[in-house]
Symmetry: C2
Subunit: 248 residues, 2 copies
DNA sequence: GAGTGGTCTAGACCACCCG
DNA sequence: GGGTGGTCTAGACCACTCG
């Protein structure tokens, strides 16, 4: 493996063993061999399966834990991460109340429909313009105060059978629903944030004056293999809340 | 070490060896034994010094590297991180151009003076109201377009001798100056972001209409030991730029 | 070729959880 | 008491850098 060839090696042909193990474990996560919330085999068991030492498996799992794909619990084992836990809820929700403890908002769905992807949406979701997408529009409120108006675009192929009923009856974060019902786990996301003036539509939904300044966020979320699976455009009212970020 | 006592242990008295080593190395970084940009002793050397195995030193340095306090370079050694490098420049500057490659803005200083800390500033900087602080106001421009107006508050005791001249003549990011001239390295920061309307002052400096929506950021930066050493309140024009964030 | 960080192994022991 | 992850060690070898 990684033997020199007659021509100079262009690409880095060397891949550490623990990275290969990590890739194998990731495959099992992706294929659903171990589902979110479940216990994965112990380190010694995986070491035997892959014919490597425990230390090598350990280093692979270390990285997966750092990327929030699994969670280690001393004395119990290693578990597949899930969006169904308090810990995970605030990983993607960065809007915090200026006073008081963070909590999850209530959702009201305005619109849920299937349509064909506009060019800009298609580009961000790695689809072709005209491909089927699910469009969702909702308003979220903290303690009854409408604060977020959000439009989501999801690849239609992945989210077949997603209806307004499913969304309404489901309690908890939407990423939990996506994970349980559609086998799609959001791993990471990139966000672009700017300041804008509320247009008439947003102003009406948030019950504020038009031209109130709002935070505008465009988020693209990715699942395994860096595949984009959600475009979310949100407007945030930041009178009683702020977007929290840690720079490190 | 960590011996059981007659009474039940209340606090977790156990601290892994590598954490203790990490703390010792951090002390040396803080004390200036190894300065930013410099090479620190090799892993074997540190292992000998601390009478532990190389693996233990390695794990300590692994964490320091993950926290951006040091940088490893295979074949060369481990270096103390510094803000004088391209890599570091965009760790704290999250405003990116919508088009084109990120680059550093030019600064124009509006005001540099020493005064007594208002109550809110004192609280965030862990000072007493009335303590001496340095106040800086500046405008930053990308390609000649004024885009950021920023007010900084710094503890007067730490930044003795900081003058407008030093700021103006210094080329490069301000954190580089703070590091080189005042021995204060910014390690991490927390940021609160909201949308606001430009007031007359900001509008004049940014050459925009009053009531243009702007991103308002309040950042508190910390040095070693989680000590707050900078409060920065910025207004960002997001017509041609956006605040970039990675959620993971 | 010597020195550095990076990988891999094997084995011992510790802290934690649970039946 | 037996299983799990967590720590620590000692030693071998690999990849990279530089004189």
């Amino acid at each position: 493996m990684n033997a020199p060839t007659a021509v100079a090696a262009i690409a880095p042909t060397f891949s550490p063993l623990y990275q290969q193990i990590k890739a194998l474990i990731t495959q099992s996560l992706q294929s659903g061999e171990w589902k979110p919330g479940e216990l994965i085999p112990s380190e010694v068991e995986l070491a035997n399966r892959f014919k490597v030492s425990q230390g090598t498996v350990r280093k692979a799992i270390d990285e997966l834990a750092a990327e929030n794909l699994v969670m280690r619990k001393q004395g119990k084992g290693t578990f597949v991460s899930t969006h169904h836990e308090a810990r995970a809820h605030f990983r993607f929700l960065r809007l915090m109340p200026d006073e008081g403890v963070p909590h999850y908002p209530e959702s009201k769905f305005i619109e849920v429909k299937r349509l064909r992807a506009p060019a800009d949406v298609a580009r961000l979701l790695d689809l072709k313009a005209g491909d089927a997408v699910v469009f969702i529009k909702r308003v979220q409120s903290f303690d009854g105060v409408p604060t977020i108006v959000e439009e989501l675009w999801l690849p239609g192929a992945t989210f077949k059978g997603l209806t307004a009923e499913r969304l309404v009856e489901y309690k908890g974060p939407m990423y939990g629903l996506f994970e349980s019902e559609f086998g799609t786990r959001m791993i990471r996301a990139t966000e672009k944030i700017r300041a804008v003036c509320a247009d008439d539509g947003a102003a009406a939904l948030l019950k504020i004056a038009a031209s109130t300044p709002l935070l505008a966020s465009e988020r693209v979320s990715f699942t395994y293999g860096d595949k984009p699976v959600e475009l979310r455009r949100g407007l945030y009212l930041t009178e009683q809340h702020h977007y929290h970020n840690e720079l490190s």
